[in-house]
Symmetry: C2
Subunit: 338 residues, 2 copies
DNA sequence: TTGTACGCGTTATCAG
DNA sequence: CTGATAACGCGTACAA
């Protein structure tokens, strides 16, 4: 609360000198006056006004904003952890802001981050197709970048940013599907998230390509969300459906887990009756022994954090994924019977 | 990026007039000049410098910081969601900062929140006993409160804040234990988190009181953490131990789930061989059908958000919990045999 | 109704 | 080495 003004009066020096002592100035100050200023500051409990400093110097603050889609989604927790690990030692603060899967909320956060001159902004979640708010978002991102902030996208986005760090959504789905095919399954379905999300679409495309390349027929369906509940509800429908698939690739772990639990609640055995595979390998995957594609979540966060620290203003990085085989997938019964 | 200065030049008015038009001033301005200013602002893409406004007026910003222990813990996701729901419509922004279960990291976040004049700060996680950094934290909290911020604790803390909104840790553990006793179990254990955390201690006390009140002997053990892995490891030890308990209350859901999965991996049946109960009722609890105590997490967040909006500077609120019976607990085999 | 002048807390420039 | 002074972008008494 104490200002430089008060310090300078108490120490009988000018504000300028007080400023030089109290903040990292290379300007020489005699050790005597330095001591006076220091003790005055100590006595009054001086804390520099970071706000005033920022106004004066027009620099970036030490805040890094991570805009996520859902604070309860472990996906984002993993990403945020990665960011934090990369930047905490340099005194940067990671703040997570929930976009609640709506661009409108994201805009609010972008504005706030711009207002507070954040050092960097990280989009951790995917965007919508044909989002009418994209233009506004792009404007904000542009103004952010123009004033020196680094803006990074960790998931597909219709926004041009400083850079992009991600894994291959299409490839991950493709690989998982090939794995299911290799297990001998013929009837394979993809259970997507809500329609219109880029990640959903890319993963569905990868799924479809893999199925077609094996001469099979793709089977797709959408759910209302990316969460457990959506998967659980989908399981109820699928279990009752006449042409029930033998294997399912879900758009992410949460939906996959919903499917597993949903199937079991309807009496279906997983994986004996039906195989289920997820994408992400978030922590809950191991709760149910879910087979899934491990995505480099914390690595993406880490890389993003470093990019902001280093002021990298361009480039695209694609980090590798790999399949993690657990206990929700098994060879098809037809094949097992052989 | 455009300043009032530039606007005023383009519109041929003074900076003062521009300011009055562009910010909510009750000062009268003719509709003519108003239009001039507005179009100039539009043309230049004016955005007020929130930082300068804050410096000038010394008011709080529209940021609410939620300091959590672990961004991957669904407990905090639920709390943060509650806060968000309460404040988003009023234009306040919820930013989550990870304290990583260390007071040092929390101090960094507190400083940053103070520097940016946050409207409110919410401690979502418990503190340590005999934490040497408590004093520093208290100083920061005091300066925050002195400058008009509301600081709330949602878990036990050795810090005096503006207010406290929580549920009854001791009571929740007590009720859960009574429930296990009611199931006929005699050998009941408590699996805590890392030692020294207030929540751990309070819940353990509740457990112990319930056990003793039934004339039984408490059985306690600690794990290294609040996470799934800690519970999983504990299960390995417990499964092999000669005096294996019949029922277990875990300090939270994640540890409980770790226990359930760990037991099953060692061949033990849950709940036939051993009952497991958690605390919190976070989303993953339903993944494994965990019996647990539902804590009012989002309600706590919601109430905290409202308290900040309303500038409430005192009071303690305790919100109710209740038991949710699922499939990881069952009557003791002795009793079932009767 | 408009403009002038000052202050918020800093930092940078320029004299001395 | 130290100190006035201006400026960052803004809001507001006060004067016109």
């Amino acid at each position: 609360m104490a200002s430089l003004q008060e310090i300078s009066q108490r120490a009988n020096v000018s504000v300028a000198t007080a400023s030089r002592v109290l903040n990292g100035s290379s300007h020489p100050v005699s050790s005597q006056t330095r001591a006076k200023v220091l003790s005055a500051a100590e006595a009054l409990g001086y804390t520099p006004s970071v706000l005033a400093q920022l106004v004066r110097k027009g620099q970036r603050s030490r805040i890094i904003g991570v805009i996520v889609g859902d604070v309860s989604d472990p996906y984002f927790g993993a990403v945020a952890r990665g960011v934090e690990e990369a930047v905490a030692d340099d005194g940067y603060l990671t703040m997570i802001a929930s976009g609640r899967r709506t661009t409108a909320a994201e805009l609010d956060h972008l504005r706030s981050l711009r207002d507070h001159q954040a050092a960097g902004v990280i989009f951790a979640s995917s965007g919508y197709e044909n989002d009418p708010l994209t233009e506004q978002a792009q404007e904000l991102v542009d103004s952010l970048m123009a004033s020196g902030s680094i803006v990074l996208a960790l998931a597909p986005r219709d926004i041009s940013c400083s850079g992009r760090i991600a894994f291959d959504d299409r490839g991950a789905a493709f690989d998982a599907t090939r794995y299911l095919i290799g297990l001998g399954h013929k009837e394979i379905a993809f259970v997507g998230g809500p329609g219109g999300f880029h990640t959903s679409t890319h993963r569905r495309d990868g799924f479809e390509a893999a199925v077609r390349s094996a001469g099979l027929t793709p089977n797709k369906r959408l759910t209302g969300g990316f969460e457990y509940e959506a998967g659980y509800r989908a399981a109820q429908h699928i279990a009752l459906s006449p042409e029930r698939p033998e294997a399912i690739l879900a758009v992410n772990d949460d939906v996959a887990i919903g499917l597993v639990v949903g199937f079991r609640d309807t009496g279906l055995r997983v994986p004996a009756d039906i195989s289920v595979c997820g994408i992400h390998d978030t922590r809950p995957a191991s709760y149910v022994g879910l087979t899934t594609v491990a995505a480099p979540l914390s690595e993406m966060g880490h890389a993003a954090g470093l990019a902001i620290l280093n002021g990298e203003t361009s480039g695209t990085t694609v980090l590798p994924h790999h399949l993690v085989e657990r206990t929700t997938t098994a060879p098809s019964s037809a094949r097992a019977a052989r």
